[in-house]
Amino acid sequence: MWNVIKLIARTGNLSEPGPQDAGAIEAEARRIGAELLGIVGRAVAIRELDAGSCNGCELEIHALNNPYYNVEALGIKFVASPRHADLLLVTGPVTRNMEQALLRTYQAMPQPRLVVAAGVCAKDGGIFGASYACRGALAGLLPVDAWVPGCPPEPLDLLRGILVAVARLKTARVEP
């Protein structure tokens, strides 16, 4: 235990302050994210769903939880149940074998609900396209609020995409 404490003390806090390498768009997204946190009064809960990805996207989504990105400190947390989720983060070209699970997960979410398509596969099927095995574009099945480019998207881009979608939720809320 002494070694554990020693290592923690020596390394210090590695967490970076979030997407700020960035320009005005990201700063604005962050501001809206903070505003939403103010309105909702809690973290944004995300249900991640792999709709047939190669697992590359999942590895990068995992990275969001490492000490550098530390998304929980930004008010974003990943949840186990769609019933607890504000946002569905979908990866992959939507295989036909996952289509039903995807739709059921979405239907299980409370409203208002957001959908973020992560990576080129969720945008249009990517390298896998649409075929007997894949539906391709996620937008053909669910209303998509934001798309994150990349194969796979890098963690910072994922963060940006999530914040863009969250901003849309705020707009949707003020509209009559």
């Binding site: 070694n3 554990v4 290592l7 923690i8 390394t11 590695l14 991640e48 769903l49 792999d50 709709a51 047939g52 990805s53 190669c54 697992n55 590359g56 996207c57 999942e58 590895l59 990068e60 989504i61 995992h62 990275a63 939880n65 490492n66 000490p67 550098y68 990943f78 186990a80 149940s81 992959g92 070209p93 295989t95 036909r96 074998n97 996952m98 289509e99 039903q100 699970a101 997960t105 390298i127 896998f128 396209g129 075929s131 007997y132 095995a133 894949c134 539906r135 194969c151 796979p152 890098e154």
Partner: protein, 509 residues
């Protein structure tokens, strides 16, 4: 020449590894499997194709190297001799083969669909020439094997899991917390990659191969490139061979760092996850800076590597190996001394060596159960032949053994990386591609999870891919998890599953 006692004509396949190819008939097909098994060899993969007529193919690892056997079926025939009775791992591969091609093993014990969940009609087969995508159908329930008895109940998990992981369904039959039986149903991430290869130009196939399993992008791209280069007679420059090995070891270390952290976390030691995920992030960021991609996708191209390594980055890579080694050694000591962690790791999810041999447990998990196979040591390509790889093995077969093998392989890879960076030969990092040429070739690479195998067949003019089969070691290891969990408690399943960390996408393709 392997399998000399059988009436087989094998001819050597071009390429850097000792491989042979030949045709079998219905009698020599099972005879060859028996001969391989008796000689201590193993089944690497089983697949099929449909050109003028259907054929089924198998790849065996034998002492001398790899044997690729093909069994052409008679016109109109739709069955072939079953191999699952000899190599249990063949069972699911044969079921997948039926779903893709409509040819079935005679008298196989299990004929349930595997990849076809009902999304495409029974009797329609994706690998038949000119097969056009039918309208999606309704998904079908899967007939899991029921377990009955006093107090036995089922727990159904998935395909959507609680964490950020790939989809698959696990059906547990339990009494209280104790697992009596686990049956997995996979195929949820089936993307039709085999059919897609036929529409992919041979020069671009490595990009698709790299996305069979995103955590093994280098291993798959290398195996694909090896197959294509063998067909076309491309000599990869020495520097490019070294850089490929460097990328493969970087991929191995990245995955081991991630797994070691996750294994700590799954046993309630969040400190381990924090420390290792930080190391992994440092590692991926330098991948990005030195090679242009965090997961090293598309860094390998036919003929060599996409971009050369710059001098400044070479120093950074070397410095990182030192820094990571210092940290990993500290964490290794902490993991080993942590009583709570060892209590969860030891004896959990055990696959004893004889069972591992019977199931053909592959790669890292196999080595942790006494299966001493590592292509880098068994058939070393440059630069592994010059550097020498110390294979990490263990006979424990439990979660603890798989953790230990990961630690040892990480440290060995760091040693190899430093040696590669020290002696990296000068020269070109890419060979020019000669004009297209038809034929067949194979690639065989020890990825971080185990052996990745690619069998590639081009049309006679070399312009198109006739068949490209990508094999993931997860095919062998998924059935082994079902044995590993027997008698364990349900809450240990995530830990056991993570200790194997198998690919869903690489398996489902």
């Amino acid at each position: 020449m392997p399998l000399t006692d059988l009436p087989l004509t094998l001819r050597p396949l071009a390429g850097p590894l000792p491989m042979w190819q030949g045709a079998a008939d219905a009698a020599t097909w099972p005879a060859a499997a028996h001969a391989v098994q008796e000689a201590g060899g193993r089944l690497v993969s089983l697949w099929g194709k449909m050109s003028a007529r259907a054929s089924v193919a198998a790849a065996y690892a034998v002492q001398e190297g790899l044997v690729w056997l093909e069994l052409p079926l008679a016109d109109g025939a739709a069955t072939y001799p079953d191999l699952a009775a000899i190599f249990p791992a063949a069972g699911r591969m044969q079921r997948a083969l039926y779903d893709l091609l409509g040819i079935a093993p005679e008298g196989a014990a299990d004929t349930r669909p595997w990849l076809n969940h009902g999304a495409w009609p029974k009797g329609w087969f994706p690998l038949h020439a000119g097969a056009r995508a039918p309208a999606p159908g309704a998904l079908q329930d899967y007939p899991f094997v029921p377990v009955t008895g006093d107090g036995v109940h089922e727990i159904a998990v998935g395909p959507v899991h609680a964490g950020i992981i790939e989809p698959g369904h696990f059906r547990f039959s339990v009494v209280g917390e104790k697992i009596l039986r686990l049956e997995a149903r996979l195929g949820y991430t089936h993307k039709g990659i085999d059919a897609l290869f036929a529409q992919t130009p041979p020069e671009a196939g490595h990009c698709l191969a790299a996305r069979v399993s995103g955590d093994s992008a280098v291993a798959y791209a290398w195996a694909y490139c090896m197959a294509l280069e063998s067909i076309r007679g491309i000599a990869v420059p020495t520097r490019a061979q070294w850089l490929r090995a460097l990328l493969l070891e970087r991929e191995r270390v990245a995955n081991h760092l991630g797994d070691l952290g996750a294994l700590g976390n799954d046993a309630g030691f969040a400190f381990g996850l924090t420390r290792f995920s930080r190391l992994r992030e440092d590692w991926l960021r330098l991948n990005r800076a030195a090679f242009g991609h965090r997961l090293l996708m598309d860094c390998l191209v036919p003929g060599g590597v996409a971009a050369d390594l710059q001098a400044g980055e070479r120093d950074a890579l070397r410095a990182q190996c030192d820094a990571v080694e210092t940290e990993v050694r500290k964490l290794k000591a902490i993991y080993e001394e942590h009583a709570g962690l060892q209590d969860r790791f030891l004896t959990t999810g055990r696959v004893a060596p004889p069972l591992a041999a019977h199931l053909g447990l592959a790669g890292l998990a196999g080595r942790a159960s006494g299966q001493a196979f590592d292509l880098r040591a068994d058939h070393p390509l440059p630069p592994y032949d010059a550097l020498g790889v110390n294979m990490a093995t263990h006979r424990g077969g439990d979660v603890a053994a798989r953790v230990t093998v990961r630690f040892e392989e990480t440290l060995e890879s760091l040693r190899l990386l430093r040696a590669m960076l020290e002696d990296l030969p000068e020269g070109a990092c890419q060979a020019a591609l000669p004009p297209p040429q038809g034929g067949r070739g194979a690639g065989w690479v020890e990825g971080w999870r185990g052996e990745v195998f690619v069998a590639l067949e081009l049309t006679p003019d070399g312009q198109h891919i006739e068949r490209c089969h990508c094999h993931d070691p997860s095919w062998h290891n998924w059935p082994a998890i079902e044995h590993a969990v027997i008698g364990n408690i349900v809450p240990d399943f995530p830990l056991i599953n993570k200790s194997f960390n198998l690919s869903y996408s690489g398996h489902d393709r």
